[in-house]
Amino acid sequence: MSLKEGFEPDILGFLCNWCSYASADLAGVSRMQYPPNVKVIRVMCSARVDPTIVVEAFIQGLDGVMVLGCHLGTCHYMTGNYYTERRMKTTKSVLKKVGLSSERLLVDWVSAAEGERFATLVRKFTEKVRKLGPLGKETDLKPEQLKTRLTAAKEALAQERIRWLVGRERELVEEKNVFGEKVSQEEFDQLMLQTVEKELAKRRLLLSLGEDALSVKEIAKRVKASPREVLRNMVSLEHDGLVSVVGIEGNSPKYRRAGG
């Protein structure tokens, strides 16, 4: 695999035991040939794939991740892949916010009888990621910057607010809440996007703060954001118990990570 032959992406595949993993086995039994870039982790259900694990794969430098489950409505665990669908949708939007192409994450459905479909998905996805190039090529970020952003993304996806919203999406959009109101998909997506943006911004602030005690102005300089926005997010972080005020510098409060 010399560099001269061109870029060969490293891709991770999460396959569910009952459908997609079986389809991969069937592709083998049928001797269908596809490129060896994808390496598979078997899970019982695609719903086991936590969004934070997907982001961790990118932090580790992998170029693409595919999550394949049973076709919607045929999940071995009844509803598992519906959760996968919604969780991965949010993961994609987080990756986009980081600056990566959301196409680096493939979410699709394959039945146990669809060996050819599996082989085709792998061929096409490998080709797609090959074209996208090494992870981060689509951004103007340095590798370290990208890693920091991805770390912020992972922490944001580990956050209660986002996980709660993702978990309630179906209920909120399809059923009425206790006040008899129904949220439209557009309203929900908007809310989700705002939450993702806010959590990401907060996590980035937290990471940039490191172990230092910094004023809002200093933090704003570090992350190249307006002091106003930084202040708003620092107040929210303080509310979450993640930072605390340790002093005032001029008219700018100084923050430090809490509990550290």
């Binding site: 035991n17 086995d25 060896p36 019982m44 259900c45 794939v49 934070t52 709660w164």
Partner: protein, 557 residues
């Protein structure tokens, strides 16, 4: 044995792997990985010789993790797990690496890259193996008592069948007597026997059976527990009864759709088939010209399904009218005559011979009632007919009972878009719910005739007997574990789980999620969505998955 000692066995599978990958090279590579103290390639790891080698290597090298790189866990994991068990190792300390179905067979023309991929897969497998933990299956006793909800033909048959196997049965009926829909019917197609004879015979058998306790005028108020150990609260008038059951059968039936506002339905000269049955029973039929209209309120936008019992019912009732008065005129206006099976097509033929007139109409040109006659466009004749009538009988579909959703919620089982109870798998598990220990039969599931309800009842009784005969259910060790200190009691996991296997309960530490091992299927959906990340999925822990991810990203040495 604190030190992790991994043994790796790489299989040639004859030439299936050996012919395309550098298998000895893979074994050598495996030996270079952390914690690997033994690695070897075999011709056939699954052969007696291969398995013996595993067992010997475990003993000689004090291995406490076994990794086999060969075909696929979907076929061979049970074999290697039991080999580990024979070697004195917990079977969950075994890790499979698929280098045949997902490697050698699919990269047959690129040995170099395929071998590199196999190395990565082995590296990932070893990384996970190091973190595997021993797991134990446990058993939960099953209470040998069944709760059958609904005392119609399906529920009664099921109760008798269960009792004949020696199990206690509690049979709950909402009405004040057993019998269900059949009590309102006159004769049954295709044999034309009396419905009440059948019902009374069953009811009598139930009365005499000491194993069956019947509670009429009763409803399920609350249900707690899981397969083998349900706590049932039944409302019986003003009183409440509490009892335990191991399994539950839903046999609550369906009801006839009342076509209010359609075809001038008035219950007197325009009636339903069920109302006609009552007139038959009372011997009060007084009509020389009868027009029956099929598919009233079904196979339309609002209710798309075919109720399938209405066509044979119309045939039967039309024949009964002709039988009682051969000079009477009977018209059946139909869209498609649904009479499947060897018996019913004959039955249809027989009906035609009696002189009943069949007229095909199309849903675009529905029949119209005006001036004491039915105006219908005959699709086959291509002309409009006007049929004077004494009586119009509307064939309406069976619909789900309006309290079906309520019961479904209490049992936490699903219903379909029409409100009928939904089985675990339409083909493979037709009388099971996805939740272990709950089954269904009869019209609660779908419009069914007497014989279908009876066969489903036998099926459900047979399925429900399995856990009671075995006496215990095995609980899956691949279950989530809740970290109570982290759990906020938010109930998201409870909402996520389709098997009711995780529930938030009041504890000393406040509201906390509890896993019901006997109900859990081990998918892991709850953990991957937990807002507090307080749930660890055994055997597929975050650490184990992350170790695989990290191992993949490592550059091969």
């Amino acid at each position: 044995m604190n030190e992790v000692r991994v043994g790796v066995f790489v299989c040639h599978c004859g030439t299936n792997i050996g012919g395309f990958l550098d298998v000895p090279g893979l074994a050598k590579y495996a030996l270079s990985l952390p914690h690997v103290v033994f690695a070897k390639d075999n011709q056939y790891t699954c052969s007696e010789a291969g398995l013996t080698e595993i067992k010997n290597a475990v003993a000689e090298n004090k291995l406490n993790r076994v990794v086999v790189a060969s075909c696929t866990p979907r076929t061979h994991e049970p074999l290697f797990r039991s080999t580990c068990k024979e070697a004195g190792l917990n079977p969950y300390l075994f890790q499979f690496v698929n280098i045949r179905d997902q490697c050698s067979w699919v990269h047959m023309h690129e040995t170099g890259r395929a071998t590199e991929k196999a190395k990565a897969l082995i590296r990932m497998g070893v990384a996970r193996a190091v973190l595997l933990e021993p797991l134990e299956e446990t058993e939960v006793d099953v209470n040998p008592c069944a709760l059958v909800i609904g005392g119609g033909i399906a529920g009664m048959t099921c109760a008798l069948s269960l009792a004949s196997r020696g199990f206690e049965v509690k049979l709950i009926e909402k009405e004040n007597r057993l019998g269900g829909i059949l009590s309102s019917l006159y004769k049954l197609y295709p044999t034309h026997e009396n419905a009440s004879n059948l019902v009374q015979a069953k009811a009598k058998k139930i009365e005499k059976n000491p194993k069956i306790e019947v509670l009429t005028s009763s409803e399920v108020k609350e249900l707690k527990g899981f397969v083998g150990n349900y706590d049932v609260t039944v409302k019986h008038g003003e009183k409440e009864r509490l009892f335990k059951a191991g399994v539950i059968v839903v046999a609550t039936g369906a009801e006839e759709f009342k076509p209010v506002g359609m075809y001038g339905y008035d219950g007197e000269t325009v009636i339903t088939q069920m109302e006609l049955e009552r007139i038959f029973k009372e011997g009060k039929l007084n009509a020389d010209t009868v027009v029956m209209i099929q598919c009233v309120g079904s196979r339309n936008e609002k209710r798309a399904y075919c109720s399938k019992v209405c066509c044979p019912t119309a045939l039967k009732n039309a024949m009964l009218i002709k039988e009682a008065n051969p000079d009477s005129q009977v018209f059946v206006l139909y869209r498609d005559m649904v009479t499947q099976g060897t018996i019913y097509e004959d039955y249809y033929g027989k009906a035609r011979e009696t002189g009943i007139t069949f007229i095909k109409y199309s849903p675009e040109r529905q029949p119209v009632l005006e001036n004491k006659s039915v105006r219908v466009y005959d699709e086959l004749l291509g002309e409009e007919l006007s049929l004077p009538y004494d009586l119009v009988v509307l064939s309406t579909p069976m619909i789900a009972r309006n309290d079906a959703r309520d019961l479904a919620q209490k049992l936490k089982v699903p219903v379909d878009e029409n409100g009928f109870f939904l089985e675990a798998h339409v083909k493979l598990r037709p009388v099971d719910f996805a939740t272990d220990g709950i089954y269904m039969c009869g019209c609660a599931h779908w419009p069914a005739n007497g014989s279908e309800s009876i066969s489903q009842a036998y099926g459900a009784a047979s399925r429900a007997s399995i856990p009671m005969s075995v006496g215990h259910v095995k609980t899956e060790p691949l279950i989530p574990v809740v970290n109570e200190d982290e759990c906020s009691g938010c109930s998201l996991c409870e909402m996520t789980c389709p098997f009711n296997a995780i529930r938030v309960e009041e504890t000393e530490k406040g509201r906390k999620a509890k896993v019901i091992a006997a109900s859990c299927k081990g998918c892991g959906a709850c953990g991957a969505g937990c807002p507090q990340m307080a749930i660890t999925m055994r055997h597929f822990t975050d650490e184990q998955l992350l170790a695989q991810v990290v191992a993949l990203a490592e550059v091969a040495p």
